[in-house]
């Protein structure tokens, strides 16, 4: 496993950000999913050594997160969530500057900066001052500086935030290419389900600082629970309460479609039995293919 952490815990004052997080992340692209405040960024920051965990430990590429921070930072490229640049610089200077700070020789860093800027689509704008860059260009620039020293692992924190749909697709395409064709492992932290679903082979869902679900996307969809979509005629509220009392999670969409997340091992006949008990008529019953959104709703809940 390239990233392996055990029992990681961290608090911001009284607020628990991570509470005993234990995960093992393998090769390829891994999604770190969770609502705002779930602890995704905190986990990335601990892995990079920005903050020291109160409890627990772990390894990134066999380097200890408490002792070998320099080695981890040499092997990892980090793309932060917020806009960040150095005022007064152009993109080439900026990218080669961070290449040098990673330990690259100056000339190599400069050469490599040109290459990665072309790769991320900023080739034509590489001599423009960063102060004049648009939000989309700044996102690409952050990706370029993360790639300049050819890291083995990329930590991407909300890489598509503040982007229009076209820019978002382009950045996602880059990340997909990096993870699938260039042999760089990607840890993609996001609260945008579609981003993770389109790129990652496996996912870790964090909620309130704990791991709510973890594993390969396909396995999670199949094993964790079954999702049924139901429409009823009659007292829907009593039907819902009956199902919930039997461990099912039930959500209702605006057009009165009831989504029933059945726990592992539950029998779909329970839905019919609940309908019989509460005297409602089932007018529609479909076993749904679970999307990541459903998985997320199943383990975290839906607003």
């Amino acid at each position: 496993m390239s990233i392996d952490v055990k029992d990681l815990s961290f608090r911001y004052g009284r607020i628990v950000a991570l509470d005993g997080v234990t995960v093992s992340l393998g090769e390829g692209a891994v999604g770190l999913l969770g609502p705002n405040g779930a602890g995704k960024s905190t986990l990335l920051r601990i892995l990079l050594g920005f903050i020291v965990p109160e409890r627990g430990g772990g390894k990134v590429l066999d380097f200890d997160i408490r002792r070998d921070q320099d080695m981890i930072r040499r092997s990892v490229g980090y793309m932060p969530e917020s806009d960040c640049f150095v005022a007064g610089m152009d993109a080439v200077t900026f990218t080669s500057y961070f290449g040098e700070l990673s330990g690259m020789p100056r000339q190599e860093a400069m050469k490599r900066a040109h290459e990665v800027l072309f790769y991320v689509g900023l080739g034509e704008a590489r001599y423009r001052l960063l102060d004049t860059y648009s939000a989309g260009m700044k996102q690409r620039l952050k990706l370029a500086q993360a790639l300049v020293h050819d890291p083995k692992v990329l930590f991407l924190d909300e890489p598509t935030s503040n982007l229009d749909p076209t820019g978002r697709n382009e950045v996602l395409e880059l990340i997909r290419d990096v993870s699938r064709n260039k042999g760089i492992q990607v840890l993609l932290s996001s609260h945008i389900l579609a981003d993770i679903e389109s790129i990652c082979g496996s996912v870790v869902i964090l909620n309130k600082g704990r791991v709510a679900a973890e594993g390969r996307m396909a396995d999670l969809r199949a094993i964790a629970y079954s999702l049924y979509e139901v429409r009823v005629k009659g007292d829907g509220e009593a039907f819902r309460k009956d199902l919930e009392s039997r461990g099912c999670k039930v959500d209702e969409t605006e057009d009165r479609l009831i989504k029933v997340y059945m726990p592992e091992g539950a029998d779909r006949m329970d839905i019919f039995r609940a309908a019989a008990r509460t005297g409602v008529q089932l007018r529609y019953f479909v076993k749904s293919r679970t999307s990541l959104e459903d998985l997320f709703a199943g383990v975290v809940g839906v607003d």
């Binding site: 608090r11 911001y12 004052g13 920051r45 990079l48 050594g49 920005f50 903050i51 921070q69 320099d70 080695m71 930072r73 040499r74 990892v76 980090y78 932060p80 917020s82 806009d83 960040c84 640049f85 150095v86 005022a87 007064g88 610089m89 200077t93 500057y97 961070f98 040098e100 700070l101 990673s102 330990g103 690259m104 020789p105 100056r106 190599e108 490599r112 290459e115 990665v116 072309f118 790769y119 991320v120 689509g121 900023l122 080739g123 034509e124 704008a125 989309g136 260009m137 500086q145 790639l147 020293h149 050819d150 382009e170 395409e173 880059l174 290419d177 990096v178 260039k182 042999g183």
Partner: protein, 290 residues
Amino acid sequence: MATIREKGYAHWDGALAERRFPGWPITRTGIQLAFRRKMFRFFFAGAFLPAFVALGGLYVSERLEDFKALVQSNRDLIRIDPKYFAGFMTNTAVLFSLVFILVFAAAGLIADDLKHNSLQLYFSRPLRKKDYLLGKMSVVAFFVLVLTAVPWLLLVVFKLIFAGSFQFFLEYPWLPLSILGYSALLTVFFAFYVLLLSALSKSTRYVIILIWTTYLFSDALSGILFETFRQPAMILFSIRANLQQAGAFLFGQRLPHPVPAVWSFAVLAGICLLSVFVLNRKTRGVEVIK
């Protein structure tokens, strides 16, 4: 905007090296960024004016016969001894011009990084806090040393060249050490002082105002307190007076104020310690509010 992947991504086959001074790219880039501004280059050149005036004095002092008319009653002014060097180096205008240059070159060193959230980029590299701060301090050190130690040591050399003998050096063999010592004091103090204020705000403009107001206000405050209490110790409130006091001590001159020089050193050291405390708190990869 150009299409993505005009050129493919290729792995880099070099090896990442561990530098003896990991903050060197920060220093080099900080200096380069300062010199990119035309206005700065103009003022920077102007900051050498006192050294050129001193050079003129050195030349005249060796050619008294040629400049009889000019120096009839002012021979004392161009007597070349440690007092001559101390007089220039601790001069109020020289210190003022030094602060002026640092305001241009160094006010944004940390403030800009705070404003643009770039600290997390620095600290996601194999760079420790001390490497980052040493890299930034070295920018200040470069400008202070280039404006103090370099010209004034050169002036000692010029004095020997103009005199055509080593007599001056044999009379005052410790003078180069005094110049180096005072330059080092200015370097260390201004590095901590400017970075302390640069770390207090995300706006370079506020930092510039802070640098000027603390430097000038400390002087004004010391004057007001002295007038009020008539105690010489009140000069300790003035940054300028403390630097001049320490300078006079290092050049072996009579102290300009009747206060032990060690007190001035203590005040300057106190400001540096405060700076260490603030810099340690403000420079982090991520702001952790507990």
